[in-house]
């Protein structure tokens, strides 16, 4: 498989606080890759470095091309970032949220068609297009954030803690849809998760971060099968 995303020696900081020291990782086209680790290990910052919402150093290449800084250019290059805590515009309607997802795309008739296509995965969105996103349930907002990210026809989908604050049943449903998108449409996903168990089940490979560095990597099956890894890094 072709390499889609490559991070080489990436570091990032929030003001004086160094959050990432040296992260190198690879995501190949069509893969679901999980980034695991404890709180403060730098999982979210890794995603933010990729989408350019934190100041960073080191090389980040998408499709062999260095990603320019700034989230607007990352979005334009095909990176769709679903941030932690439901990235929806609460004052806008469901349909408006979806339309905004297609913002970087050329204006053509395909936006409407894509909204219909996304409604196949989330049937309720078609019926409740005029509803304000802020009045949706937490699970629905997370699905909407995913739907909006898909509207950009992303090369790479970044998911940050999608399970946060959601009921287990909703989380399973969410990951079921992500897997389905991966299998049916070849969507490439880099997902950050606190819940290692569910993330390893949904992914093919995983990286474990520890204080801003990659501590461990392997296929998800290997990591799941290794009891010592599970105990010392994944906490279950």
């Amino acid at each position: 498989m072709r390499t889609l995303l490559e991070l080489d020696g990436v570091a990032a900081r929030y003001g004086p606080v160094q959050a990432l020291h040296d992260v190198s990782l690879v995501v190949r086209e069509g893969e679901v890759v999980a980034v695991l680790g404890a709180n403060g290990a730098g999982k979210t910052t890794t995603l933010r470095a990729i989408s350019g919402t934190v100041s960073r150093s080191g090389a980040i290449e998408l499709d062999g091309k260095q990603l320019k800084g700034g989230p607007e250019s990352a979005a334009k290059a095909g990176v769709a970032h679903v941030p932690e805590g439901r990235g929806t515009f609460v004052d806008l309607t469901v349909t408006e949220n979806l339309k905004l997802g297609a913002y970087t795309r050329r204006r053509d008739g395909s936006v409407r068609a894509d909204i219909a296509r996304i409604a196949e995965y989330f049937p309720w969105m078609a019926e409740r297009g005029g509803q304000r996103a802020g009045t949706l349930s937490g699970g629905e907002q997370q699905m909407l954030a995913l739907g909006r990210a898909l509207m950009s026809r992303p090369r790479l989908l970044l998911l940050d803690e999608p399970s946060l604050g959601l009921a287990p049943m909703i989380v399973r449903e969410f990951f079921r849809i992500v897997r389905k998108l991966n299998e049916e449409e070849g969507l490439t996903v880099l997902v950050v998760e606190q819940d290692a168990r569910i993330a390893l089940r949904a992914s093919q490979r995983a990286y474990v971060l520890e204080v801003g560095r990659v501590a461990l990597t392997g296929t998800s099956d290997e990591l799941q099968g290794d009891e010592s890894v599970r105990r010392s890094y994944l906490g279950y």
Partner: protein, 304 residues
């Protein structure tokens, strides 16, 4: 007697709607900037005055006809508003609200000074595009100026509503105003959207100024009182609500005229024209005390 009172009443309503339409435009400008930049733009009135002088100069000194000058002024104002954001506001935007407020006050003083320096403080006359005729509609005397003002204000509000509601850039403008970080993630160039907001606000102000000048006369402080009424309108409607600004503007316009009307007929006979401005301040104070979010605003909820 009753019939005369009724036609007086209707006349006051119509002229109240006309001045209210002007307040609504300027209030809308305040709301657009407050939603995106988070501050009250104290220079909004002076920006409108400058625009109006441009229109007047185009007509009086350069021989333009009214409507081309009107459109030319809108273009100038829009570009000027974008420029003000890029050059003056953007450098301080990340700082505290107070810093931005002080910069807008500085802008107020600077523009006012420029206008006096360039055109002197002498009052000028900007013609009305609607003429000075009055019409008798079923005993109600209405001025063409008032009808024209209402029509233009309404037209501009509808155009703007269409822009925000039905266009891609309008959607991006709203997204950038309510949730800038999220907007950047979907690829919206937020700083340009904020600049665009300033451009639209300047354009709204220009229309308000050009509609104000024919009745009050063009002078460097022409918009000072109108800005206070617009403040009252924006606060009354809800400082983040575009619909609120329009409704608030019309309400203030009609309400103040109602006081004039009632004072003619004995009630509130203490009310004179001089009290219109203090009354607007009283409305601001009353709303802030009783319902700070205004009619259409959402109460501010702070998460602890």
């Amino acid at each position: 007697m009753v019939a005369a009172a009724f036609s007086d009443f209707m006349q006051q309503v119509v002229s109240g709607l006309a001045s209210g339409g002007i307040y609504a435009l300027l209030a809308l400008a305040l709301v657009i900037i407050h939603r995106s930049t988070g501050v009250i733009n104290f220079a909004q009135g002076e920006m409108a005055t400058l625009s109006t002088y441009i229109a007047w100069a185009l007509i009086a000194h350069h021989g333009w006809r009214y409507w081309p000058a009107f459109v030319g002024t809108l273009v100038f104002s829009f570009v000027g508003g974008v420029g003000i954001h890029r050059v003056v506001i953007r450098p301080v935007e990340r700082g505290s609200v107070l810093r931005i407020v002080i910069v807008t006050i500085g802008l107020l003083v600077a523009i006012n000074g420029f206008v006096v320096w360039e055109w002197s403080g002498e009052p000028q006359q900007l013609q009305s595009p609607f003429g000075t005729e009055t019409y008798d509609i079923g005993g109600v005397i209405v001025a063409a100026q008032d009808i024209g003002t209402i029509a233009v204000a309404l037209g501009i509000v509808l155009l703007l509503w269409g822009l925000f509601q039905f266009t891609k850039v309008g959607l991006a403008l709203r997204a950038a105003a309510v949730n800038p970080e999220e907007a950047r993630l979907v690829g919206v160039r937020v700083t340009w959207m904020l600049a665009l907001g300033w451009g639209l606000a300047a354009l709204l102000g220009a229309v308000a100024g050009m509609l104000t000048a024919p009745t009050v006369g063009l002078d460097p402080n022409m918009m000072a009182a109108v800005l206070i009424y617009a403040f009252a309108a924006a606060v009354l409607g809800g400082i983040d609500s575009p619909i609120g600004a329009v409704v608030g503007g019309l309400l203030i316009g009609v309400l103040l005229n109602m006081l004039s009307f009632l004072s003619q007929y004995g009630a509130f006979d203490w009310f004179t024209e001089e009290l219109r401005l203090p009354m607007a301040l009283l409305i601001i104070l009353g709303v802030l005390l009783v319902r700070p979010q205004g009619i259409f605003g959402k109460p501010e909820v702070k998460r602890v």
